[in-house]
Symmetry: C2
Subunit: 210 residues, 2 copies
DNA sequence: CGATATCTATACCAACGAGTAAAGACTATG
DNA sequence: CATAGTCTTTACTCGTTGGTATAGATATCG
């Protein structure tokens, strides 16, 4: 693969290198899978096709990931962990609750335009096996709680107005989830710009105030 | 079924009554199908199950609707036509653009909490056959255009602030689509209240203004 | 009554795709 | 070198399900 002139490519790998390669291959499977899931939908994507897109065969996928359900679950887990990190980062910031919320929301929106984030949104709970579904819901619930927390902090410090925190969180999340459906990575829209603009719309509202 | 004492139930139906019954049965199939699609997902729902839930067998469905794709397409078509009606009704109203928009959005949200509206949102384009998909997209495009039109009118008459109409429409639609995923018809939330509250959040924004 | 159209069920087919068994190639290690 | 472990392929099973052929039932109409 790589033609790095620094390191002469020895055919003998250390066990560390082997371990690394294993993880890399696993990731490659997930990447290929998530792309196809997002494009064609989970059920319309066969593992044969995923494997073929990597130039390998189906049992390879079963070697690195247990079954189709796990492939999907790993994809959404990756997406959700990105969002979780965003929440943690935002909450660690200085400033008003409103500012922390805006930072979180911008990142949240950006992730939802990326492969794994899109997969999180496009995956309905029904799609996963009962066990994965429970885990999936739990993880999403954490994100939701995190978002409500930030909102509540903003209400507490007077920087934002939200009589119904739960409904506010749903509204914001919905608006920023939707790009997972319409955003076209090949188009000319820039993720960051779109994210920032949407957050601005949500924070400022529609009503004109002159 | 009905024990209406006014009309003695004659076993002989006129051709009009037969026609009516046919339409009723067709609708019943769609109703049963949309419920299951929303609950389990399209691919996880077999037509055998849909038929069984009505106490009939699969060929009945094929008698009233051509194939599975058409069953789904009719469901989303029904949902989209409701939204279209809402748009027409809202645009016919008096008042500022903001007011017309709010009326439209409230109804839009309500429909998205009902069976067929939910189906529209939960159905990804990939799910439909190529022809149905094109039609589906065209219909959604019309709704989108309608929404942008109302927004533009509000901007024109100065009742609302929306520098980027397209992005504003996406943001609003996304927020109000999301209940199709989380709203529980069996819960204690009231459709109308939820819809009105969400629209209020969107119009007023989050930032506190004292 | 006989012919025709509508409606529904039984029984079936074909395709597709998830998952597996088995075996071969290659690597590491005692 | 031999043995064990890892990685990958070929070739298969098997359940599910969309869709259909056929035939029987019922009703309509000439």
């Amino acid at each position: 693969m790589s033609l790095d002139p620094e390191i002469p490519p020895s055919p003998f790998r250390s066990s560390q290198e082997r371990q690394k390669e294993r993880i890399l291959k696993r990731q490659a499977v997930l990447q290929a899978a998530v792309r196809m899931f997002n494009e064609r939908g989970f059920h319309a994507t066969s593992l044969d096709e995923v494997a073929a897109s990597l130039g390998v065969t189906k049992p390879v996928i079963y070697h690195y990931l247990g079954n189709k359900d796990q492939v999907l679950f790993e994809c959404v887990r990756l997406g959700l962990s990105q969002i979780r990190e965003a929440a943690v980062a935002a909450r660690a910031q200085e400033g008003t609750g409103l500012n922390r919320l805006k930072a979180f929301l911008r990142r949240y929106a950006e992730i939802n335009m990326d492969d794994f984030g899109r997969c999180v949104i496009r995956t309905g709970d029904e799609t996963l096996s009962p066990e994965s579904r429970r885990e999936f819901r739990a993880l999403k619930g954490e994100i939701d709680r995190e978002m409500r927390e930030v909102i509540a902090e903003g209400v507490a410090d007077g920087s934002l107005h939200a009589p119904d925190v739960r409904l506010t969180a749903f509204t914001l999340a919905g608006a920023l989830n939707w790009p997972a459906r319409w955003f076209n990575p090949e188009g000319r829209d820039d993720r960051r710009e779109v994210a920032a603009a949407m957050v601005e719309i949500l924070c400022e509202g529609l009503r004109c105030r002159v």
